[in-house]
């Protein structure tokens, strides 16, 4: 199956607040964008891998992790992996930042 990758200008870097999720829908994808305290920007699917689901954008951000706000799962913003003892993985999106524009690759 061919995958057409598109690079979408999502938000101004300067508009992102540190450690606060920025939720955005790009076409049919609900995405949560996070600016970490080290300045890096990460993007993951805005849906907890917990069987009962729930959003992630409102979760507490700590280092490279976000805590699922509804069930408190710890999720890596780098590879989307849920940390032990829980299991699962969220889809991650690669991010590019070019002069104050944050691009999401879909």
């Amino acid at each position: 199956m061919i995958q057409i990758l598109t690079k979408v200008a999502a938000v101004k870097y300067s508009e992102l607040a540190e450690r606060v999720g920025y939720s955005i829908t790009i076409d049919q994808n609900n995405i949560a964008i996070f600016k970490l305290s080290n300045g890096m920007v990460r993007a993951i699917e805005n849906r907890s891998p917990h069987p009962k689901g729930g959003v992630l954008s409102e979760g507490l951000v700590s280092g490279d992790y976000v805590f699922c706000p509804v069930y408190d799962w710890r999720i890596s913003l780098i590879d989307g992996k849920v940390q032990a003892p829980d299991e699962g993985q969220v889809r991650t999106f690669s991010v590019e930042v070019e002069d104050d524009i944050v691009y999401i690759i879909i």
Partner: protein, 809 residues
């Protein structure tokens, strides 16, 4: 540096590494492989997890950071598949190759699975690791009937756990008696009776020959042809040492990997330790002996010629609530033994002590095990008892275990069986290192770090050693979360001393091991700072959890609820109209009277919150916060014929004064105008009941998880006094409670009388009131603030949408 590689990341192995680091931290470059995807955890406590007394976080013994701090290379979830003894190199299933100078095999064991048909069906498990636990817990949610095969330690602990998980449990046992290797028939009969009373059903002298079912188990068949149904089968008949990897590299194995008194295997530079090792024909299955082995091996590897390991006598107990048993050494009389026996059927106490040539060689205790440490010492030390009377051997110190017992206790008495820690070692650690808490003692001496059974004894010793310096509440301290070892008291003290002013600063200065903390400590620290710097502190919104951050309660589908204030449960036609109009206009999915005498709007989208707040134009009811929730009132004297006081007026005054105040946990109040108590003030954090000429004040009620009626704090005459006491009481709670400790738990911890004393002192009360008022000044209404501030709206409530015409598949 020599290269030390260890296969197995479990209890015995890691303890050995800890001992090595104690002796010579720089001797080795250490690499560890563990099959399980976790750092070393307390396997013993899996029983407690299953029984619902603890969580996985709490049983992790060596967090990832411990490995980092000691520069240990850790590969979790990676199985070592081969040892090439010629070139001294191991290979993992992922094809990773690592060379070693010394190699430790600490692969433990697996659950022994009966070699019968059907064990591969879904719903069959052993009881060895977290996975097994999670599997059982998952199953208990969908199914109801469990069968545990094996009536030994593991089986019975598993069975108890499954009962707690709400399953029906049969225990199948091959022998006529439970735990026949540790107990004599008398004791095991008593045990069986107790467990039956707890709801276990036993199928004795049954040999399982087949597991029934197609894809998933449906039951099992016994040799005698009978069958029972089962949705879940737990095999707990024993353990099988993990020796394949050693076998494949021609290391000499028997039942386990055979080692000498220094844990050396048949091949040079390769050592084995733990449940995979066999020493003098014995494979041990309890941590105590394994930890002794670890000490010896560590000493040997570091060249500090330790005394050889000559085997251990082990003592056993069962970790099942309501069962108190202990067994060590021999359990059966023979013609060469003399037995002391006490059997008090009325109190359900049984004690048997076996003596041979004036030495204790075994003991079985049921129902009262206070003497176990003393007897175990006499047994291991082979003390001569010829001088003693049976009474003096068996005299049990009084139950309360008051500190004279520990006073009399000889220094070499073993306190922590699992870790071989004596009273002397504990006392020395306390004095030398100025320890004051149970946690500290455990960290320094290891006492209590395994099964935890010795903790009460350890804290007695702590109390006795510290004398009047001992502070019981502090001693029970536990760190506020995994990110630090500091307790609430210590953190608060440090913040004040060092003048720390932000969450980040606290974490840096106090060396948090997780840089930006977790969902436990971030909100807690934010609260402590706000409590300490009453008016200056700038609240850190992003350290609050979703509900408080959003000023609305998140629901399972990601929508929110809106619950406006309705002071004292009293409303007006206009307010009801406003609510009605908003609900109609925005098609609010659910409008409901909450349990707190007000109206809730449920199922509202994040981006609609601000508009709705604006249109409602009512203050937030904080139905989502660790703060004053509601003050329920009854109509009282204004209308009710029995009313003796104006309950609505008091309720409204209270709610208006204390709304928005940050508290360690939520606080709820109720005000009734007479003892009929229509506002349920008796189950509120603070409740007020009007009587002729005054108010009765009740505290520490709770209507939630642990239903608890309030205690009568005092009776006062005027409304002014009510406000004065309430304010002081609340402030004292704010200053001394643990974060997320409801008032009911707090009062039980610090004691009602203590609180009465504090409040009795006019000076203190005045000071508390002043600090409260100072704090109350800082709050502003959050919904209106959001509506007014473009910044907040953008940051927290905006939703964004872009069409890019991308096709993501």
């Amino acid at each position: 540096k020599k290269k030390l590689v260890m296969i197995g990341n479990g209890m015995a192995g890691i303890r050995t590494i800890e001992e090595i680091i104690k002796i010579d931290p720089d001797k080795f470059e250490i690499t560890i492989f563990g099959k399980e995807p976790h750092p070393n955890y307390n396997r013993i406590k899996l029983s407690n997890i299953l029984q619902g007394d603890t969580t996985f976080e709490e049983i992790i013994m060596n967090p990832i950071d411990w490995y980092k701090e000691n520069n240990i290379q850790l590969f979790t979830g990676e199985v070592v598949s081969q040892i090439d003894v010629e070139i001294k190199q191991i290979t993992t299933e992922n094809g990773r190759k690592v060379e070693y100078d010394d190699l430790i095999i600490a692969t433990g064991s697996n659950s022994f699975i009966l070699p019968i048909p059907g064990t591969d069906k879904k719903g069959v498990t052993g009881f060895r690791d977290v996975n097994d636990c999670e599997m059982m817990i998952k199953h208990s949610k969908q199914y109801k009937k469990a069968v545990v095969i094996g009536g030994g330690l593991l089986g019975l602990e598993a069975a108890r756990g499954l009962l707690n998980l709400g399953m029906e449990v049969d225990v199948v046992h091959l022998m006529p008696h439970l735990m026949e290797r540790q107990l004599d028939p008398t004791a095991s009969t008593m045990l069986k009776k107790e467990l039956e009373a707890q709801g276990m059903n036993f199928l004795m002298e049954k040999q399982t020959v087949e597991i029934l079912g197609d894809d998933h188990v449906t039951g099992l068949r016994f040799k005698d042809g009978t069958e029972v149904t089962a949705d879940l089968i737990v095999m707990a008949i024993g353990i099988k040492p993990n020796i394949d990897i050693a076998k494949n590299s021609n290391i000499y194995v028997n039942r386990g990997i055979v080692v000498n008194d220094f844990m050396e295997t048949s091949i040079k530079n390769i050592y084995a330790i733990g449940e995979c090792a066999e020493h003098r024909e014995i494979v041990y299955g309890l941590v105590a002996p394994l930890y002794e082995q670890g000490k010896v091996l560590a000493g040997h590897l570091c060249g500090s010629t330790p005394a050889p390991y000559e085997g251990s006598v082990t003592g056993t107990q069962l970790k099942v609530a309501g069962v108190d048993l202990y067994s060590a050494g021999e359990i059966f009389e023979d013609e060469t033994t003399q037995a002391i026996k006490i059997h008090n059927e009325f109190d359900g106490v049984y004690k048997k002590i076996l003596i041979r040539n004036n030495q204790i060689v075994g003991t079985v205790l049921y129902g009262d095990t206070k003497d176990s440490t003393k007897l175990f010492r006499m047994l291991t030390k082979k003390e001569d008892v010829s001088g003693m009377t049976s009474v003096s051997i068996l005299q049990s110190q009084d139950g309360s275990g008051n500190s004279n017992d520990v006073a009399e206790m000889p220094a070499d008495e073993l306190i922590c069986g699992c870790n071989g820690v004596t009273k002397g070692a504990i006392v020395e650690a306390i004095n030398k290192q100025g320890l004051t808490t149970l946690d500290q003692v455990s960290h320094c001496t290891n006492a209590g770090r395994s099964c935890g059974r010795c903790k009460p004894m350890v804290s007695q010793i702590l109390a006795h050693t510290l004398g009047d310096k001992f502070d019981s509440s502090a001693a029970q301290k536990t760190s506020i979360c995994g990110c630090t070892t500091l307790s609430r008291e210590e953190v608060v003290a440090e913040i004040k001393e060092k003048g720390l002013t932000s969450v980040k600063e606290v974490m840096n200065v106090l060396e948090w091991n997780m840089e930006e903390g977790c969902t436990k400590c971030r909100p807690a620290l934010n609260y402590f700072l706000g409590m300490i710097y009453m008016d200056e502190y700038k609240d850190e919104r992003d350290s609050r959890l979703v509900n408080e951050k959003m000023h609305a309660n998140i629901q399972k589908d990601g929508t929110y609820s809106v619950v406006p204030r309705m002071y004292g449960g009293v409303t007006t036609a206009q307010d009801l109209k406003k609510i009605a109009e908003v609900a109609e206009k925005h098609h609010v999915p659910l409008v409901k009277l909450t349990g707190g005498q007000r109206i809730g709007l449920f199922g509202i989208k994040k981006e609609d919150l601000p508009t709705i707040w604006e249109e409602l134009d009512m203050p937030s009811g904080y139905a989502y916060g660790k703060t004053l929730r509601t003050v329920k009132t009854c109509v009282g004297a204004q209308f009710c014929r029995y009313g003796t006081q104006d309950s609505m007026a008091l309720g409204i005054e209270l709610e208006k004064k204390f709304e928005r105040l940050d508290t360690p946990h939520k606080v709820k109040m109720g005000v009734s105008a007479c003892p009929r108590n229509c506002s349920e003030a008796g189950i509120k954090d603070i409740g007020f009941v009007g009587i002729d000429g005054g108010w009765e004040i009740y505290v520490a009620g709770n209507g939630g998880v642990d239903l608890r009626p309030g205690d009568h704090l005092m009776t006062v005459k005027t409304q002014e006094e009510v406000m004065d006491i309430t304010s002081a009481y609340l402030q004292y709670y704010r200053e001394t409670a643990n974060y997320l400790e409801r008032t009911s738990k707090w009062v039980e911890r610090v004691g009602l009388d203590h609180i009465k004393e504090v409040l009795a002192n006019d000076e203190t009360r005045k000071a508390l009131n002043e600090r409260m008022d100072k704090t109350l000044n800082r709050y502003i209404e959050p919904w209106n603030e959001a509506v007014q501030s473009e910044g907040i709206l953008q940051k927290y409530y905006a939703k964004h949408k872009i069409l890019a015409g991308s096709e993501s598949k």
